[in-house]
Amino acid sequence: MTAVSVDRLERILGRLLGIGVSASSVCLAAGLLMTLAGGNNAVARALLAAGIGVLLATPVVRVAVSSVGYAMRRDWLFVTLTLVVFGELLASIVAALT
């Protein structure tokens, strides 16, 4: 396994966040325009929900990817720290569902 440099990790995380927020914005814009243009159809609602879902998932995925990145660098302290944050976010998801 090749070592992932910190620079590379920073760029990977940056790209991931960029893709997440762009995908979310496209869904939200389409859903919003459809709703404003003509009513309350199922496609518009699905697009809006998907937009918010992707938006909220992005930071959670970012934390998980950081953890993998640090594992590939064998930086166990930071693997632990990022896993703790990931666990804390999972706890929020559990709290949201119950």
Binding site: V21, L32, L36, L48, I52, G53, T82, S92, A96
Partner: protein, 277 residues
């Protein structure tokens, strides 16, 4: 919640532009302005306003961090250490909300904002940089190329426990007030922890997405985050942060600090007004 007509959507979008712009400049999500606007001016319920605001904080965080990646301004290591505290704070937020009434929390928040503003003001002309590019930044410090001084600047992190406490506190009030807490993290990192204002802003912008995610997920799961109302705000934030990033690059650190102080004092006044309503 008011019906989302094209006119309301446009107002919310414009508010998002302002929040995103300030967010990109100062590394704060802008939720501190968005919540009172949605709640007091547009008549959204406080919880709905807070939920929408948290969604925009995540959007600011993602887009600003994406644009800043590769510049070394984001201190990943420090960010990940502080995230442990900030998300823990957010998880325990419900507990705090139980202990303090909302007006008490808002007055406390105002006091912290004023204190932080005074601290940043006192350091307006002092810079947290070691200009020797070969200096050792330590385990949590960093270095980056700065256009303003035309060189590579190095900084060390001091008083990590203070940064941890500030991050915990920021996370703690996050979902209740609908903020990412950058307004607490940036001045504390700059005034007490040895971080240059640009690096503090970039690192805070990186962290606030994770701070806000916990609260936003809970609001969404309980059906209190309306995607239709959040959509224009999130889209506005994208436009605002695009503009703010272009501006931030050309703004001297001194002016960033002055803007930060103005925002801190403004927020203190807003919070006191909210608490006496």
């Amino acid at each position: 919640m008011p019906a989302i007509t094209p006119a309301i959507a446009l107002v919310v979008l414009t508010a998002g532009v302002a929040a995103g712009g300030v967010g990109a400049l100062l590394g704060i999500g802008g939720g501190v302005f968005l919540v009172p606007l949605l709640h007091l001016a547009l008549g959204f319920q406080l919880r709905t306003a807070a939920a929408i605001s948290l969604a925009t904080v995540i959007a600011t965080s993602s887009s600003v961090s994406a644009a800043r990646s590769g510049t070394h301004l984001i201190n990943l290591r420090l960010g990940m250490v502080l995230e442990v505290a900030t998300v823990a704070g957010s998880l325990l937020g419900g507990f705090t909300a139980h202990l303090f009434s909302e007006p008490v929390l808002q007055r406390l928040f105002s006091a912290v904002a004023v204190l932080a503003g005074v601290a940043v003001l006192g350091r307006l002309n002092r810079r947290n940089v070691v200009l020797d590019p070969s200096a050792d930044p330590g385990r949590l410090g960093g270095r980056f190329h700065e256009a303003e001084s035309g060189g590579t600047v190095t900084y060390r992190i001091k008083r990590l426990p203070v940064a941890l406490v500030a991050s915990f506190a920021a996370g703690n009030v996050s979902s209740l007030l609908g903020i990412g807490g950058g307004i607490i993290k940036v001045p504390v990192l700059n005034a007490w922890c040895g971080m240059p204002v640009r690096a503090a802003a970039a690192t805070s912008a990186f962290m606030i997405g994770v701070t806000a995610a916990g609260g936003a997920i809970i609001y969404f799961g309980r059906g209190e985050l309306s995607p239709l109302a959040a959509a224009p705000a999130v889209l506005g934030v994208q436009l605002g942060s695009w503009a703010g990033l272009r501006l931030a690059h050309h703004t001297p650190a001194r002016w960033l600090k002055i803007l930060l102080v103005a925002v801190l004092f403004g927020v203190a006044v807003l919070m006191v007004m909210r608490s006496v309503r």
